[in-house]
Symmetry: C2
Subunit: 63 residues, 2 copies
C-alpha cells in the first residue's frame, strides 16, 4: 500500500493530522483527507509538500 | 516503494509530467518534483490533489 501520514506544518513543529491517508482533495477553503479506512477529515489549508518514500504529506494552514 | 506519477491537470485531460515521484517541494511560483532516481523537474503550478493508493499526484498549472 502507498498511504502516507499527513502533518500540519506549524511554527513550533509539525502536528500529525491523519495516518494512512489515501486521497487529498480540495474542498472549499481547505482540503479533505480520506484515509485507506474511509475516515475523512477536513483541514483548512493546502498541500505544502510531499515526501512519499518517507510516507509524508505536509499541509500548510490557511492564513 | 511509495512513489507516484505526477500529472498536470488540463482542460483537455491530464498530462503525465513525471513518473516515480518521491518528493514535491514548493519553489518560487511553482513546485520542484524529484523522482526516486534523483531526476528533477520544475512545474509552474501547485499540488491540486492526491490519490496515493492509485499512485497519482495531480498538479494544477498556475494561472
Amino acid at each position: 500500500m502507498c498511504e502516507a501520514n499527513a502533518y500540519l506544518v506549524g511554527k513550533e513543529g509539525n502536528t500529525l493530522v491523519m495516518e494512512a491517508v489515501d486521497s487529498v482533495e480540495p474542498e472549499g477553503d481547505g482540503v479533505k483527507l480520506i484515509s485507506i479506512f474511509g475516515e475523512q477529515k477536513f483541514v483548512k489549508g493546502s498541500i505544502y509538500s510531499l515526501a512519499l518514500v518517507d510516507h509524508n504529506i505536509f499541509l500548510k494552514p490557511k492564513e
